[in-house]
């Protein structure tokens, strides 16, 4: 292996006395990709930023060398030549990581202005060259557009272009594809892999093991600011030594059969192995036929968000609705919940018409329909405590039964000490559990889940998904489970419907849709979703 480009020896970072990163050491050589994996709060981003001197905290280390630069003794002027010149940083979401008010070309031009002596005209050509090198179609005109006017994938490519314009030796990519849909994600990962192949060192920060497996050569696993395990991709993913790594790998839903619990507690050999998924033969609880909806747009034809969609939910079973952002999944959900009136098509709940009836009549039957969202915090009144939130959701006749409250908390695994606190001061996982408890309060028959776990860490995500499975088993709830993450949908659903541009392109049993996708788009979706390919579950 050639001499390492970046060597980090016993690095520690502290903010006003609190140590966030402790004794981290690793190396990255040119043409090699090292991935740092960990959940939020593990210190992986802080470690990356300390390599650019942008943590804002107190950095100390035995050694911090980048090529011939000693980063510990670098002064502001030296740092400015390193940043962009020697090291390029790619952040998560180009929409906010590129200045929304300036054309993307200008941001790339800045890097060149700072690190090359090219004339403005030469710089303009170089910008177009760099954009083309990252696979930007029709680069000349795209350079004049702002980040907001480009699609997710294109603006991420522009962000990468701005990082590599001065051809730095090391690229740090902090969650580069988290904000992207599966198909676009795989294209961007291929681009990063290409850069690594061209001899640039790549430091990939991610919480997604499947993504890491696709690109990285070696992996470092961080937890609470320390490295718990390091090694090649094969060693760490296929034969994890540390208990935490094993739990992490197990929590990844993709590939885990339906009904198999994910959370670590299950590993302790608990036998609560739910029965194999009941065949989707329960009675139909919610039936939507021929739903369509279009939204007016300025200066353009109205946007056809949902076009002739028919779905049905059966008691005790889950229909997974998967598709990329903008495919109309959420609009369907809102039509089922009676929040959006469909242009045509009908929704029946428990056999009775639910969609086009006056809101006053519909209100009495809303109890049967619950909903949980991606960001639970925004669905809680900021001034209410958990107790007030749950009590308001209870049936009036049960409202003052304290027993009912504790019963709800137990069912979602929350201690009664939570009642007096406000959601703002709870963790992401706890908030989602409160949301589920609230949805269950009126004893619904159907629960619409719109991206319920996308914002959660893998380990927390695993616990919430297991909870949803348990509740379905106990109460025979019908779930509509919406997500852009194929792995999660496959694990949770009995049947799956794949949506694209407002229509359902394929529907069928979860396993058949995955093993032998019929529709070309489904095939492409399944192919582009990184899989962990663990050997049999230990």
């Amino acid at each position: 292996m050639t001499a390492p480009l970046l060597t980090v020896d016993r690095l520690s970072v502290a903010f006003s006395g609190v140590t966030v990163v402790r004794d981290v050491s690793f190396e990255v050589s040119p043409g090699e990709c090292l991935a740092i994996v960990g959940e939020s709060g593990s210190g992986k981003s802080v470690t990356a930023r300390s390599l650019l001197g942008l943590t804002g905290g107190r950095v100390s280390a035995e050694g911090l060398r980048l090529g011939e630069h000693d980063l510990l003794s670098a002064g502001p002027k030296q740092w400015r030549s390193i940043r962009g010149g020697e090291v390029g940083l790619v952040l998560q979401d180009a929409l906010v990581s590129l200045d929304p008010l300036r054309p993307v070309g200008r941001e790339i031009d800045d890097t060149l202005r700072l690190h090359t002596s090219l004339s403005p005209a030469e710089r303009r050509d170089r910008v177009i060259e760099v954009l083309e090198s990252v696979g930007m179609p029709d680069a000349a005109s795209r350079a004049l557009q702002r980040a907001g006017e480009l699609s997710g994938g294109l603006r991420q490519r522009a962000l990468i272009a701005s990082a590599i314009a001065a051809s730095p030796h090391l690229i740090i990519a902090d969650e580069p594809t988290t904000a992207l849909d599966a198909t676009v994600q795989s294209q961007v990962l291929r681009l990063l892999a290409q850069l690594r192949a061209d001899g640039t060192a790549l430091l990939l920060i991610s919480h997604d093991l499947a993504v890491v497996r696709e690109v990285a050569d070696r992996i470092v696993v961080m937890r609470d600011g320390e490295i718990v395990e390091a090694g090649s991709v094969g060693e760490v993913l296929d034969a994890p030594r540390h208990e935490y790594t094993r739990a992490l790998i197990r929590s990844v839903p993709s590939g885990v059969p339906r009904g198999m619990p994910l959370a670590a507690s299950a590993d302790a050999g608990s036998t609560r192995n739910t029965a194999p998924p009941a065949p989707s033969t329960g009675p139909i609880v919610l039936e939507a036929r021929g739903l369509s909806k279009s939204f007016p747009r300025r200066h353009q034809a109205p946007l056809l968000a949902v076009d002739d969609v028919s779905i049905s939910l059966r008691r005790g079973s889950t229909l997974g609705l998967v598709g990329e952002s903008g495919s109309g999944k959420t609009t369907v959900a809102r039509m089922l919940l009676g929040l959006v009136t469909p242009d045509d098509g009908t929704v029946d709940l428990d056999g009775a018409r639910f969609s086009d009836i006056p809101e006053r009549q519909r209100r009495r039957r809303r109890r049967m329909l619950g909903a949980i969202y991606q960001d639970p915090l925004s669905s809680f009144d900021p001034r209410h405590t958990v107790q007030r939130i749950l009590r308001d959701a209870l049936d009036p006749k049960e409202a003052n039964a304290p027993r009912r409250l504790t019963e709800l908390l137990d069912s979602v695994g929350l201690p009664s000490s939570v009642l007096a606190r406000r959601p703002l001061h709870l963790s992401g996982g706890q908030r989602q559990r409160v949301a589920i408890a609230r949805a269950l309060a009126p004893r619904p028959e159907v629960l619409v889940c719109d991206e319920p776990v996308s914002a959660l860490d893998v380990s927390v995500q695993a616990q919430v998904l297991d909870l949803l499975d348990e509740l379905q088993g106990e109460h025979g709830l019908a779930y509509l489970f919406i997500s852009h993450d194929l792995g999660v949908v496959q694990h949770m659903s009995d049947r799956i419907a794949v949506m694209r541009a407002g229509t359902i392109v394929e529907e069928g049993d979860a396993t058949t849709v995955f093993t032998s996708p019929q529709h070309e788009y489904t095939r492409q979706l399944v192919a582009s979703t990184p899989r962990l390919e663990r050997n049999q579950r230990s």
Binding site: R367, R383, P442
Partner: protein, 289 residues
């Protein structure tokens, strides 16, 4: 003339200055001290200034600040310090009453607009736009010309001219709350519009208004003193800061203290009220962001 609250910060990141529950910053301590002092002066002026603000002694006119007269004496020999202290009650009353009128009117205009039907919303916005386009002072001048000068008219005039600002903020606030996630969740749970209005919309919409009020009181006092300066405000010999400034102005070159001290009192009160309003605003935004 309050500044309408700006759109939420572009990136929603929490405001740095004051974290909830964090200990008070220096600025907050000072402004709290000033406000407490003002409240004491307003409620028990005798405590801070036992003298009679109206007692004249012409032979002692125009005395510079001294131990006996910390703020000096005015053109009729009255003690300026006593008058500033006794004026506190008057000015605070005007500030609070004017803000209450402004906010009261705005609450009606704002809620009607936001909760009522489309026609009502259209009407109230138009009314607000018209009131907004009129220079605040013109509204006050015409009102005072109709009803005649005096304390009550000044208070109502200032209240009237601040109402449009508040109405615009309340209306946008109510619309934002109506579009929020927790209102939608309540709809899904089957709650009726009235319950939602009572339980979620009004409490969340009105809460920031009280923060605005603290900002408004400062400005109301400033505007009331400007009206007194133009000779339309408080009737002499009442000790009101604006009137004292107006009376002291001709003697500025020979008795600077007649203008400086009442002016400082106005600035200190208005600044402290605004500072408290600002920190309350950032703390409550903390809670909800």
């Amino acid at each position: 003339m309050t500044a309408p609250e700006t759109a939420g910060t572009a990136y929603g990141t929490a405001h740095v200055a004051a974290r909830p529950g964090a200990r008070l910053t220096a600025g907050e301590v000072i402004s709290l001290a000033v406000i407490l002092l003002l409240a004491a002066a307003a409620l028990v002026p005798q405590l801070l200034a036992p003298g009679d603000p109206l007692a004249i002694s012409p032979t002692e006119a125009f005395q510079a600040p001294s131990w006996q007269h910390p703020f000096g004496t005015d053109e009729s020999g009255r003690d300026v310090y006593t008058r500033v202290v006794h004026g506190a009650g008057q000015s605070l009353l005007i500030g609070l009453a004017a803000t209450a009128i402004g906010i009261g009117l705005a609450l009606v205009l704002g809620t009607l607009g936001a909760v009522g039907g489309r026609a009502l919303d259209f009407a109230t916005t138009r009314i607000n736009e018209v009131l907004f386009a009129l220079p605040g002072l013109l509204l006050a001048l015409v009102f005072i010309a109709i009803v005649g000068p005096g304390v009550t008219t000044t208070t109502i005039a200032v209240g009237l001219s601040t109402a449009p600002g508040y109405a615009r903020i309340i209306r946008s606030r109510i619309l934002a709350v109506r579009r929020s996630g927790y209102v939608e969740a309540a709809v899904v749970l089957g709650h009726g519009p009235l319950t939602i209005l009572g339980r979620h919309i009004l409490p969340n919409a009105v809460a920031p208004v009280f923060v605005l009020a603290t900002l408004g009181v400062g400005q109301a006092i400033v505007w009331a003193s400007s009206l007194s300066y133009l000779g339309l405000g408080v009737v002499p010999p009442a000790a009101e800061w604006g009137a004292m400034l107006s009376a002291g102005r001709p003697y500025i070159s020979v008795a600077w203290w007649l203008t400086v001290f009442p002016g400082l009192a106005i600035v200190a009160t208005a600044a402290s009220a605004t500072a408290l309003g600002r920190s309350l605003q950032s703390r409550t935004r903390q809670e909800q962001s």
